[in-house]
């Protein structure tokens, strides 16, 4: 097995990315715990083994490509965009994206006057039904602590500079509503089809840490 950096949150202010080197695939203590808990619950018929397998398929099926499709549709269809901004979940459901965790969705539109950024300071709330699982950095202390108090500095670390006359709105998720940023459509894409447009929209643009850039369909982020 390869070593992998397994960073985790340290609220005392010192992040210790700790590399966990797994020798010859031996499961760690917590993996054994997960297996044991699951097997006991299945034995007691409190959950079904198939239910876990099915939910893994659900999780694997949710990727930023779904969010990108929503964004591209909003860019080309003004009526859809209006519905999306009024009720994000219902509009996503129109496109076949189900909300398996029963959360709501508010879609936040970036304009030439307003730039939106999403965060969950208390944990890791994230629009999983439409974006998949969040990246580690979204769940770690530096982003969670600083996105609400110094968003411009945080954005600059992502290489995103927002002019002073543009208002930054940070949304901190805490309850049953999730947020998705509707990034601005880049210039030079007039007449593009939805698929081409969706290929430009990366995960980070829907979190709000980066703008959509006009590139050839490239690095998956």
């Amino acid at each position: 097995m390869s070593a992998h950096a397994d960073p985790h949150d340290d609220h005392h202010g010192h992040d210790h990315p700790h590399a966990e080197i797994v020798h010859s695939g031996r499961p760690g203590y917590y993996e054994i715990m997960e297996t044991a808990v699951r097997e006991l619950l299945v034995e007691r018929r409190l959950i079904g083994a198939d239910e876990i397998r099915r939910q893994i398929e659900v999780l694997d099926s949710r990727t930023p490509a779904l969010g990108a499709r929503v964004v591209a549709r909003a860019w080309v269809d003004p009526d859809f965009k209006e519905r999306l901004l009024a009720d994000g979940r219902t509009a996503c459901e129109e496109l076949g994206i189900s909300f398996y965790d029963d959360t709501g969705l508010i879609v936040l539109e970036n304009t030439d006057r307003v730039h939106n950024l999403i965060v969950c300071t208390l944990c890791s709330c994230y629009p999983r039904p439409v974006l998949g699982l969040p990246p580690d950095w979204y769940k770690l202390k530096p982003y969670r602590s600083r996105a609400v108090s110094e968003p411009r500095a945080v954005l600059a670390e992502f290489g995103t500079v927002i002019p002073d006359d543009v208002e930054i709105r940070v949304s901190d998720s805490t309850a049953m509503v999730r947020y998705l940023v509707l990034p601005r459509r880049p210039a030079g894409t007039e007449g593009w089809g939805e698929e081409e447009l969706a290929a430009l929209v990366t995960r980070d643009t829907m979190i709000g840490v980066a703008p959509v850039e006009l590139t050839i369909a490239g690095a998956e982020r």
Binding site: H4, H11, V37, L40, L41, D101, T121, W137, R144, S145
Partner: protein, 112 residues
């Protein structure tokens, strides 16, 4: 406010506005057990055996040291164990016995 008051008044996860240091753009593909752990959380919430907010509270209740030392999904499974004990769905000795059984099974037939 005294130091010990503050420990109760600020949950270990309530870090908005604190010093955070530079952002490290780390991400990793989930280990299979981590994905199973996430799926387990979703299934437990679906049945309301252990809802998502209970999970959040359970992670906080691990306390500052464990929140700092354990990885994201390690915190989840530790919290699940504690909550399932409190609800008398599992007992600590049952879980310990099953964990020994799982470990022994792996030793007998290791697989990658």
């Amino acid at each position: 406010m005294t130091q010990t008051e503050m420990l109760l008044k600020r949950l270990p996860n309530d870090i908005g506005g604190l010093d955070g240091g530079p952002i490290q753009r780390v991400e990793h593909d989930l280990e299979p057990w981590e994905k199973r752990c996430h799926a387990l959380a979703d299934v437990l919430d679906f049945h309301k055996i252990l809802n998502t907010e209970e999970k959040r509270r359970g992670v906080e209740a691990l306390g500052a040291e464990m929140v700092g030392a354990l990885s994201y999904y390690e915190r989840w499974i530790a919290a699940f164990a504690n909550i399932l004990f409190a609800k008398r769905i599992l007992s600590p000795s049952e879980l310990a016995a099953k964990m020994d059984e799982v470990a022994a099974r792996w030793e007998a037939e290791p697989r990658l």
